[in-house]
Amino acid sequence: MELTAGVTPGRPSVVIVPYKGLFQLDLPDIWRYRELLYFLVWKDILIRYKQTVIGMSWAILQPLITMVIFTVIFGTLVHVPSDGTPYPIFAFAALLPWNFFSQALSRSGASLVGNTNLITKVYFPRLLIPLSSTISPVVDLFFSFLILLVLMPMYGIAPTWGLLLLPLFVMLTLATALAVGLWLTTLNVKYRDVGYVIPFLIQIWMYASPVVYPLSMVPAKWRLLYSLNPMVGIIEGFRWAIIGSGRPDVLSIVISSLVVVVLMAGGLIYFKNMEQTFADII
């Protein structure tokens, strides 16, 4: 076998220098490693349902079962209002973004510590690790969406043009999960406590978001403060796009987006500044 070392004049050269500056995000580097991102997402999806009997069916069963539980408890027993929509659809429209968000967040939060062997052994932009764990639950989201398409005619809900805006809200959910996940996974490298806090955080967050109840139940004077939770605008956006009644709550969607932008910028800066120490302290 003849090996040829790259002695050509155009050899790639890499300069290694101390990390300096707040805003050195190396985004071109991430673009160069996009194939690895693809493989990491692919791996995540592959291994999730390996050695399960019903495999990918879990992606369909999980949200369905949650919807049934919510409908029985909150819709039938507690009589939570649902703004005139059948409760199952009302709940499912919120569970789409919520399940995606909670999965993306819990996985990205644990991502760095779960990939210690990669971080201490080989170089690639570390950002790919939380990024890939945030992206991989999109597959489950897709399956949930298929169920929704089956459920809607069952409850006599006609699709509207609003559905076309769903990808936008999906992107917003992904951005939220990544922004928060960046903070958590970076903190987790140094403080393993974070790993224990994430499940509670997600639980509390769900009740602080209009998943089982409508936004209209929140008193008007608290609405603005409440909307600082980016999942409020996102869930409202999903409900509007799917059920199509009334107008979207534009204000809460705008507020949510702004909060996400701020969280994301902070998360990225924090992550990049800690990145250089990951291999040393993980």
């Binding site: 070392a5 101390p18 493989f39 052994k121 291999a279």
Partner: protein, 417 residues
């Protein structure tokens, strides 16, 4: 002059060692630590959280040309691994800069990212992507990788069902097809089974022929001597010597310094000068007292320790172990079991061991020194010092750890002529 491969300018790396930076994997650790810090903030800050920083690399400058095979040697903590980690971009330098020309591969990353649930095929793609191959490249090399690993019929089976030999072969096959311009090897030649080591050697040899640059970190001076055409000797983060292998190895073996054993740090701390007792110098001599580090099989050796006492130590038990370069602990001598009673130590002094004839196989050994109490419970000191070699024409690690003459007899079923 050949093309540059690696240029390092004033590279330095500082680490902070801090008791509170020890790993907190469980909430209990963290909780107990928080409790201690709540209730005894003052005492704790006195004793433990004295943040000490040290320079693992201190102003290193190097130029390595395409095709050179460079050995990097030095004692534990000299900065060898830190240098490789920076050059392979796993960690960043604190000061200085380095420039790397061409693609970097390392034997450290063999099998990195392998997932037991994935099949051989899936792992080839994943691992290939992680070590820096493009998808197109992996596709092109796929058959060659499978051939090299000799696992055709198992390629679609999860690797958790592989034997360890198959697993290693597959992992190695992927790395071997990366075709790096620069290969970094950190002690790997001394781990893994014989077959794996042979593959590593063959791979290294092939890369050498194709004019790749090779950086080789090792404690095994035999391997360094036979492979490298240039050796860099690091000591305390600085370049002590850079040049001909024979000379570098001579300097390295002449160094009588000792360093703290990493595993003992949680028990007694990382700084030997803070211990009750520690060894300043460790020297080896032949039976007549002539300084020596290369012994013939069957020769006796004198190990002399200069110790420094900080606080009175009641009847310590000195232990001296020889650890082979592949981390096999080969033998141990200790004052307690050898029936030598050490008095109460209050002042500095020297202690000397004269070994029985060394029947160890031909290899490189380092000397570990522990000081415990007579019951082997308390630890006062744990250090590793210089290495020595044992030479024999035939005996090597294939023959085990040591060789002693046995007695034979034969019975051919009465069919004696």
């Amino acid at each position: 002059m050949s093309a540059q491969s690696i240029v390092v300018e004033n590279l330095s790396k500082q680490y902070h060692v801090n008791r509170s930076q020890t790993r907190h994997d469980t909430i209990r650790d963290q909780f107990m630590d928080s409790l201690t810090s709540l209730f005894s903030r003052n005492r704790r800050s006195h004793q433990h959280t004295k943040t000490t920083s040290f320079w693992a690399l201190d102003d290193i400058s190097l130029e390595i040309e395409q095709g050179q095979i460079v050995g990097i040697i030095g004692h534990n903590g000299a900065g060898k691994s830190t240098l490789l980690k920076i050059l392979s971009r796993i960690t960043t330098p604190t000061l200085g800069r380095a420039e790397i020309f061409g693609r970097v591969g390392s034997l450290l990353e063999v099998g990195t990212g392998f997932h037991p649930e994935l099949t051989g095929r899936e792992n080839i793609f994943l691992n290939g992507a992680i070590i820096g191959m493009t998808r197109e490249e992996i596709n092109r090399q796929f058959d060659a990788i499978v051939d090299f690993a000799e696992i055709e019929e198992f390629i679609d089976m999860p690797v958790k069902r592989y034997s360890s030999g198959m697993y290693v072969r597959l992992a190695f096959a992927v790395s071997a097809h990366l075709k790096p311009d620069i290969l970094m090897i950190d002690e790997v030649l001394s781990v893994g089974d014989l077959q794996f080591q042979r593959k590593c050697m063959a791979y290294t040899e092939e890369l050498r022929k194709s004019n790749s640059t090779i950086l080789f970190v090792s404690h095994n001076m035999f391997a360094v001597k036979s492979m490298c055409n240039r050796v860099i000797f690091l000591s305390e983060g600085r370049v002590c010597f850079d040049g001909a292998p024979a000379e570098a190895i001579k300097l390295y073996e002449g160094e009588n310094k000792t360093s703290a054993l990493p595993w003992a740090q949680n028990e007694i701390g990382a700084d030997p000068s803070q211990w009750d007792i520690h060894v300043d110098e460790l020297e080896t001599f032949d039976e007549q007292g002539v300084p020596l580090s290369l012994f013939n099989y069957g020769e006796r050796m004198r190990v002399r320790l200069k110790f420094n006492v900080r606080r009175t130590v009641m009847h310590p038990n000195f232990l001296i172990s020889f650890i082979r370069s592949d981390e096999v602990a080969c033998c141990n001598y200790n004052t307690e079991m050898d029936g030598f009673s050490v008095p109460v130590l209050e002042t500095d002094g020297t202690i000397e061991l004269l070994t029985p004839p060394l029947n160890l196989v031909s290899e490189s050994y380092k000397i570990c020194v522990l000081v415990r109490d007579a019951k082997f419970e308390r630890l006062y000191c744990a250090q590793v010092g210089k290495s020595f070699h044992v030479r024999h024409d035939v005996l090597n690690t294939h023959f085990g750890v040591f060789h002693e003459q046995g007695e034979w007899s034969i019975d051919t079923g009465g069919a004696l002529s």
